[in-house]
């Protein structure tokens, strides 16, 4: 592997910039004549807009313009769209209600934008925004998805009667019902998956620049996928054709999914820049982020799991209601369907599965993919059900899982997925050993002596990364392909630029992608630069989400490297008068195998560009590109074990240990992988113990709109994690990579909740398991 190659624990190249405050984020961007935008937002969760009077605001000091939704409509700017078509089981297409970038008729959640104010300073823009008079007629509100489906509830969109967006199913209902009817035991449970706010450290921001000379737009934005942003803004929102729109996502301080989507603010700032003639910058404050960043999860599911007399699962039936909020965000329809229900087989050989999913509009912020996107929902549901079943059946949780593990691959599940490789026993064994599972009884007894209730719980998760192949996702309704692109440019002096359509917003691509090159050519990673996040530099790409950058983005780099290597070898062979097949590349040199003839890498590169002595017919230069479309998803899996102590007097849960044993396939940089797991675990533990988006059900006000009320996990909420990997390489991509970005957040919540319910002897517990809930459950009968 070499000191900087594949598998090396290389320190992150980008950290110096980030840790010394030298990062360049969207809000750091400044251009001549730039002005500041503030959005006027609805204080009501549901209301008709009778009128908007901006006369007073326009007259205020420093104000350049106040624009509203009628003007936006008149200029032909389109609706925001959901890019994944789902059909209900009756064949009808999903009911997509109109989402205007600036509402001009109806507002549907607190924070819905109705106007933009552009002024010389943020303070002046805020002053003027307060002076915009919006006359609202309040309408009744519904925030709960199950309630929104009932008769007589407030209706959000005329397109969607009873607020139902689609009623979709997957799997075989008849076979599943038959299995349940014939079962020796059926475990039934209701599972609630709480609503979360993504909270990236950097709030969203955008800078829209219109250049009247060329009729050209530039959009700096906090995006995980600038090319998708450009595609959607030109194809659907009529902002500008692609050749007239440059999207740049510079350093981005975390996304967790929330920066995949195109939001009203990007579109409106670009449009406002043209309307007002000045570059327009908007930066979200934290409360705006709580109000308007797409939320995650919010599912309620009823589950039946059927077992035969040998404790083998023979059927699984799931009925889920998913809250999508006031509007359908860009990938909102895919999350509770193809990213969720297709994972309901877990690590288990289940012959019959049926899942029904209804998605619903409510007067809340839009809900879309958030770290894990669908797989945490599936995992939490399955792994709580397995734990519950083990208790009901009187089998140890590990034993019940082992009885049902899939052991032969490839394995076709009844819900589309075809698992390519895995060894679930290996991660279960590793986790149980690391957690000293067998010593638990003694530890529990010791804790009881101190008046504490100790519990242990596990979770065996599987997830799917690098969603693919494009033709398959297209047939399931995706509006885009899910390949990735790369270009490798070798400069005349031998330094290398790798252009990628992946986007790094904390994942460390500048290091790991460079490690691929270092590994291949033996050059130092300092001579390799990763270029990403700018549609003028990288031609096209699909961005970063769903843990796809390694499996898909790096595979594209590998394909481009193959082409560079082939040409480099031809040049070297020509220079050394050797046969191309005898050339090997080692330590930055091209050598003729078995001889002492060598050409240094930089000399070969120079030869490519001087073109004085190239093989006959060869084009000068050394630059190759590739597109990579994977053959399948990848399937990371693992086992997490959590041990807790509950204080019965207060209900406080203390995590004593947390073990994560993952199978991520081959690993490029173990340190970065561990970092991803740690971060994911913190997020999953946050969901399980602390975090909850809380709307007032009466009026739809967001009650958790700041960190005073929204509880983020902090260092002292977390134990020191014990992480390890045991890897089966993925057979479907050249690097054998599976993906590690979301696993921690996917696998951890059920392990933690299973541990708490074990400790208190009551399975009726919902996330977040706050001290009050745990205290009440501990003192109630099961």
């Amino acid at each position: 592997m070499g000191v900087e190659g594949i598998g090396a624990r290389v320190a992150r190249k980008e950290d110096k910039r980030f840790l010394t405050g030298k990062g360049r984020y969207t809000d750091d961007m400044s251009v001549p004549g730039m002005k500041y935008a503030i959005f006027v937002r609805s204080p009501y969760a549901h209301a008709k807009i009778r009128s908007i009077d901006a006369a007073a605001a326009k007259a205020m000091p420093g104000v350049i313009g106040v624009l509203d939704g009628k003007q936006l409509l008149a200029d032909g700017i389109g609706n925001l769209i959901c890019g994944w078509m789902i059909h209900s089981k009756d064949g009808s297409p999903m009911k997509m209600g109109a989402w205007r970038p600036l509402a001009h008729e109806t507002v549907r959640y607190v924070g819905d934008a109705v106007a933009i104010v552009v002024a010389d300073s943020v303070a002046e823009a805020k002053d003027a925004a307060e002076a915009v008079v919006v006359d609202y007629e309040e309408l009744p509100v519904v925030t709960d998805a199950t309630k929104a489906l009932e008769q007589g509830q407030p209706q959000l969109h005329p397109e969607a009667p009873n607020n139902l967006i689609f009623d979709w199913q997957i799997g075989d209902p008849a076979a599943t019902d038959k299995a349940i009817a014939a079962a020796a035991h059926v475990t039934e449970i209701t599972i609630h998956n709480n609503r979360l706010s993504p909270n990236p450290m950097e709030p969203r921001a955008t800078l829209g620049i219109y250049d009247g000379g060329d009729d050209h737009y530039t959009c700096y934005t906090t995006s995980q996928n600038p090319h998708v942003a450009r595609l959607v803004m030109s194809a659907f929102y009529n902002v500008a054709p692609e050749n007239k729109l440059r999207v740049i996502a510079p350093d981005v301080g975390g996304g967790f999914g929330s920066k995949i989507y195109i939001y009203p603010e990007e579109i409106v700032c670009l449009w406002a820049s043209k309307r007002t003639g000045v570059p327009v910058k908007w930066t979200s404050d934290r409360t705006e982020a709580f109000l308007t960043d797409a939320h995650g999860r919010d599912h309620l599911s009823k589950v039946k799991m059927a077992f035969d007399a040998n404790n083998r699962i023979i059927g699984l039936k799931v009925d889920t209601v998913a809250n999508l909020g006031a509007y359908m965000s860009l990938f909102s329809s895919a999350v509770p369907t193809y990213l969720y229900a297709t994972l309901l087989s877990g690590q288990y050989d289940i012959p019959a599965i049926h899942a029904n999913v209804r998605t619903v509009y409510t007067n809340t912020a839009p809900v879309d993919a958030y770290r894990g996107a669908g797989r945490p929902e599936a995992t939490y549901l399955l792994e709580r059900t397995m734990e519950t079943a083990a208790r009901e059946l009187g089998v140890s949780p590990a034993e019940l899982r082992r009885i049902n593990f899939i052991r032969t691959f490839p394995h076709q599940t009844p819900v589309i997925m075809n698992y390519d490789a895995g060894d679930y026993d290996a991660s279960l064994d590793a986790a149980m050993k690391a957690a000293d599972w067998n010593g638990f009884a003694a530890r529990k007894a010791e804790a009881a002596g101190r008046g504490m209730k100790r519990g242990i719980g596990m979770s065996c998760y599987i997830e799917a990364c690098g969603i693919a192949p494009s033709a398959a996702v297209g047939s399931l309704g995706a509006g885009v392909g899910l390949w990735e692109s790369a270009e490798v440019r070798v400069n005349a002096v031998g330094t290398i630029e790798v252009l990628t359509g992946s986007h790094s917003h904390g994942q460390g691509h500048e290091t790991t992608f460079a490690q691929l090159v270092a590994d291949r050519f033996g050059v130092p990673i300092d001579s390799v630069n990763i270029v990403h996040g700018d549609t003028d530099k990288v031609q096209m790409g699909m961005g970063t989400y769903g843990s796809r950058s390694g499996a898909v983005g790096m595979s594209a780099v590998v394909k481009a490297l193959d082409k560079v290597e082939a040409k480099a070898k031809k040049i070297a062979a020509h220079l050394m008068e050797a046969d191309e097949s005898d050339i090997v590349i080692e330590n930055g040199e091209l050598k003729v195998a078995g001889t002492d003839k060598t050409v240094p890498w930089f000399q070969m590169a120079l030869a490519a560009y001087t073109a004085h002595n190239l093989p006959p017919g060869m084009e000068p230069g050394l630059k190759e590109g590739a597109f990579y479309d994977p053959a399948n998803f990848t399937f990371p899996a693992g086992c997490y074990i959590c041990e807790v102590e509950v204080d019965p007097e207060t209900g406080v849960t203390k995590i004593i240990q947390f073990v994560a044993a993952d199978d991520f396939g081959n690993i490029i940089n173990p340190m970065i992988v561990e970092g991803q797991v740690h971060g994911g675990l913190a997020q999953g533990i946050g969901q399980a113990l602390l975090e909850n988006v809380h709307y007032d059900p009466e009026n739809g006000q967001l009650l958790t709109a700041s960190y005073m009320d929204y509880a983020m996990p902090r260092a002292d909420d977390l134990p020191s994690f014990k992480v390890s990997t045991s890897n089966t390489p993925c057979p479907n991509n050249p690097l054998g990579i599976k993906g590690c970005g979301e696993a921690g957040a996917i696998g951890s919540p059920p392990a933690l909740i299973n541990a708490i319910t074990d400790a208190i002897g009551n399975n009726r517990l919902t996330m977040p398991a706050t001290p009050q809930k745990v205290w009440a459950a501990a003192h109630a009968a099961n």
Binding site: E649, T650, H694, L703, M708, M712, T770, Q772, W775
Partner: protein, 268 residues
């Protein structure tokens, strides 16, 4: 934030004068509550009179068992005073758990009690210690000072300059932190005097702010031990319910925190 005018007071007199001269003025101490409120445009004082540099309002002095803490003394200074730690470690411990290091280096005791946030820590200490709040014009007993949610006996323009109290024989404070804000979801400060008098004040839980709990006081007067609380009941009807905890749970916390505060006081 709306436009405002900043003044730095050099003395108590100067502060009061500046405040009187201002239209809609406010005293500014650590700014840990006031500045965020202004940033959110929920407060719009025309003038800020900064009292943190007033020499008479800074620092801790001890004579015998009488403690005086200047209103502009930071939480960090209270937490790290060795004199105070020797006389009344409970108040040092309380100060050391307010917010985070930034907050403790800026926020002050005067600002905290003048603000009287129902979830703030100091009000419980002041009430249990039977402290006297000294202002530019009078002395107010803690029992008369805290009058409701964010309400105090302070008149318009009245400046808290210091607090004083007699160090008790025993004192203990236990805080159950709100998981999000880490303010007190319930905090209980217990004090026992040499003469056997017991005062117990509860913050974070009362629907009308900090209060004394007579049932707990009576039980602890009879027997100064955590076990004495076994049969005490805490009535939830006057307690807060919010998205973090309901009144029933807070009632449980009042009792548990009181027990633990007594245990902590006995151990000191």
């Amino acid at each position: 934030m709306y436009e405002t005018h900043y003044h730095r007071a050099s003395s108590i007199q100067d502060a009061v004068k500046l405040r009187q001269a201002a239209g809609e003025g406010k005293y500014l101490s650590g700014g840990m509550t006031l500045i965020p409120t202004m940033k959110q445009r929920l407060a719009a004082p025309s003038d800020l009179v900064d009292v943190r540099q007033v020499p008479e309002m800074k620092g801790i002095s001890v004579s015998g068992r009488t403690v005086r803490i200047g209103a502009a003394t930071t939480h960090f200074d209270v937490a790290s005073s060795s004199e105070l730690a020797a006389l009344c470690p409970a108040i040092s411990g309380l100060a050391s758990h307010i917010g985070d290091p930034h907050v403790r280096h800026m926020g002050t005791i005067g600002g905290s009690i003048a603000n009287n946030d129902p979830a703030a820590d100091y009000p419980s200490a002041m009430l249990a210690l039977d402290a006297t709040i000294i202002t530019d014009r009078r002395e107010i007993a803690a029992g008369d000072f805290f009058t409701g949610l964010f309400e105090t006996a302070l008149e318009d323009g009245e400046l808290v300059t210091a607090v004083t109290f007699e160090a008790p024989a025993k004192a203990g404070y236990q805080k159950f932190a709100n998981p999000a804000s880490r303010y007190a979801m319930t905090g209980v400060f217990v004090v026992r005097r040499d003469n056997g008098d017991v005062r117990v004040a509860v913050t974070g839980a009362g629907s009308n702010g900090v209060f004394r709990h007579e049932g707990i006081e009576a039980a602890l007067s009879a027997q100064w031990s955590p076990d004495a609380l076994a049969n005490v009941t805490v009535d939830p009807s006057d307690l807060l319910s919010d998205i973090h905890a309901d009144a029933t749970y807070r009632a449980n916390l009042v009792k548990v925190m009181a027990k633990r505060a007594v245990a902590a006081a006995r151990a000191d």
